[in-house]
Amino acid sequence: MSSVVTRVVARMLLAPILVVAIAILVKGFADVGDGFSAGVVAALGILLQYVTLGREEVERTLPVRLLPHAAFVALLGALAVALVPLSRGDPILTHSPPAGAEVTTVGKLELMTAVAFDAAVFVLVLGAVVGIVHAVARAYEEMEAT
């Protein structure tokens, strides 16, 4: 079993890791990184909790059990970004504001559907990776049990 120190350190690391992930996501349009990397970084952060705290504790203290479902909701979101333009008669995946137009920004964050799309990628990847890891972890427990 992991020592108290590692547990505390792991718990402490979660927030910075998630912040890094968000940063990668937000900065993606200007610098290295994108939704996928952000998702994986965040998932690695949660994975670290799994390794140090054990599955049960993580799942008790963090809202991870919704993540796989969130992945599909995110896919729906991405699809919405893709398909909503169809209702306006635009081709699939036409972002708004359209190409070249002025974009409202909140700090570094640009408010446009492309960012929403990338955020959906982030959530999906996070959810999928956590879901897969969870499935393996549960399979391990089932194997132990038998």
Partner: protein, 456 residues
């Protein structure tokens, strides 16, 4: 109507269904309904394309050559309609037969989205992405049932097909290097001017990749265990819908993007096709279960598509397309009727068997007619003799298994009336196209014309 609509419809339906429990009847029927809607939308699209000619949109409203172009032309749309129809029948069968896995409807819908994308994209890398989507969904779906030999077969299925996929990906990289573009029009144009070595290597990678998908001898070894192990609905989907990617890929990449190379390599195609025809048929003859016969028959039947491709030209391509359509319908029909019993299903299976053997009035007859025409067009007595031989052998294996399975009264376990419906409907389609072949012939000519630049 936008050509992205059927794609988006099925795709979004898949995402929604994935969140729900597919074992619940309402969810399963929702999935069937979504597929049905996608099918109808594709049919409408096909009507538009056949009347007004191909239509293209570029995703994101970017200029062509930058954004990803989606294009519905006669060739793509006919395969899309066909595949979606088969998926619909296969899923309906599984739903009626009670789904045991909650993800199956979603996986089938993802397969549908992938297939629609594959057939409607005009961008080679986007083709790869949709292709992978289709394949990953099929790997997962092929293990439906969860018995250990299904899992084992699924593993081999995935491994072998992945090898093909990566080869294809390397080929794509080479295409990009040679042409500097991903847009199919641009690629075709640039490849025509490129030097032969790279083009030949690219061509072989494409050929191998799609031959594996098609299950062409000698790349077929994954196929029998998968088709035999799969449940009837899944087997129908794999053989009648997913395998179309192989035929379509060969037609699109071979006939459209690398026509000169495929013309030069006609000998290789003919040899591969012939070997497949003979090998599949010989293997099928003594197999003792319908699904095994059908699996090997599938190997033999795709050989015809390759032979027609080798002939090329308006007649050859039309024959290849028509045969691919007919073969997909036959296989779907036969897999969906192989394990149900009752006189009606027996009659439907017989129609499928006649269609495989090329006996009128069935769609398969016109497949044979077009093939023979292609052989005669190529002035090749060998090809004609080979098609004759393959047909003769298919008579033997189809009717041996038909008699074995349907003419003995010991297997009276009928699967309920509703289970018969998908097979009966497909049989009506096969029979109807045999009685009124005009749509089939016209569509395949039209699709072939997209490959030969309007030449009929």
């Amino acid at each position: 109507m936008s050509l992205a609509l059927p794609l988006g419809l099925v795709w979004a339906g898949a995402a929604v269904t994935a969140l729900l429990d597919g074992r619940r009847r309402c969810v399963a029927w929702l999935a069937v309904g979504v597929l049905g809607a996608g099918f109808v939308a594709l049919c409408v699209l096909q009507a538009h394309v056949l009347v007004d000619g191909p239509r293209t949109i570029v995703a994101g409203d970017w200029p062509a050559g930058v954004g990803i172009a989606l294009r519905a032309d006669a060739l793509g749309v006919v395969f899309a309609v066909l595949s979606m129809g088969v998926l619909l029948a296969g899923l309906a069968y599984e739903v009626v037969d009670d789904l045991e896995s909650r993800h199956t409807p979603a996986l089938v819908l993802f397969m549908g989205a992938g297939l629609t994308g594959v057939f409607l994209t005009a961008d080679i890398f986007n083709f790869y992405v949709f292709f992978e989507l289709t394949m990953v969904a099929s790997y997962a779906a092929s293990t439906y049932g969860g018995e250990r030999h299904q899992i084992g077969a699924g593993f081999i299925f995935a491994i072998v097909n992945l090898l093909g996929t990566f080869l294809f990906l390397i080929g794509l990289a080479a295409i990009y290097t040679v042409t500097g573009t991903l847009d199919m029009d641009g690629v075709g144009f640039a490849l025509a001017q490129s030097e032969p070595t790279a083009v030949a290597l690219i061509g072989v990678s494409v050929l191998v990749a799609f031959s594996i998908k098609l299950g062409l001898f000698p790349f077929h070894f994954w196929l029998p265990p998968v088709y035999v192990g799969a449940t009837p609905g899944v087997a129908a989907m794999l053989s009648g819908a997913v395998a179309n990617v192989g035929s379509y890929g060969l037609l699109r990449f071979g006939g459209d993007l690398l026509p000169d190379l495929f013309a030069a390599g006609a000998g290789v195609l003919a040899v591969l096709g012939s070997a497949s025809i003979v090998y599949g048929a010989i293997q099928a003859i003594s197999r003792r279960s319908a699904s095994e016969v059908l699996a090997y028959s599938a190997i033999g039947q795709v050989g015809y598509v390759l032979i027609a491709l080798a002939v090329g030209g308006p007649v050859g391509y039309a024959a290849a397309i028509l045969y691919a359509i007919v073969n997909a319908l036959n296989k779907a029909l036969l897999f969906l009727t192989a394990r149900v019993r009752g006189w009606l299903v027996g009659a439907c299976f017989a129609i499928g068997a006649l269609s495989v053997a090329g006996v009128p009035p069935s769609a398969g007859f016109f497949g044979k007619v077009e093939l023979f025409r292609a052989g005669i067009d190529a002035r090749s007595a060998v090809l004609v003799a080979l098609i004759f031989l393959g047909g003769a052998l298919s008579f033997v294996y189809m009717f041996q298994i038909y008699q074995r399975d349907f003419w003995r009264d010991r297997h009276d376990t009928s699967g309920g009336r509703a289970l018969q419906v998908p097979g009966v409907l497909l049989a009506l389609v096969v029979l109807g196209l045999g009685l009124w072949p005009e749509p089939l012939l016209a569509v395949s000519r039209e699709a072939a014309a997209t490959l030969t630049g309007g030449q009929r």
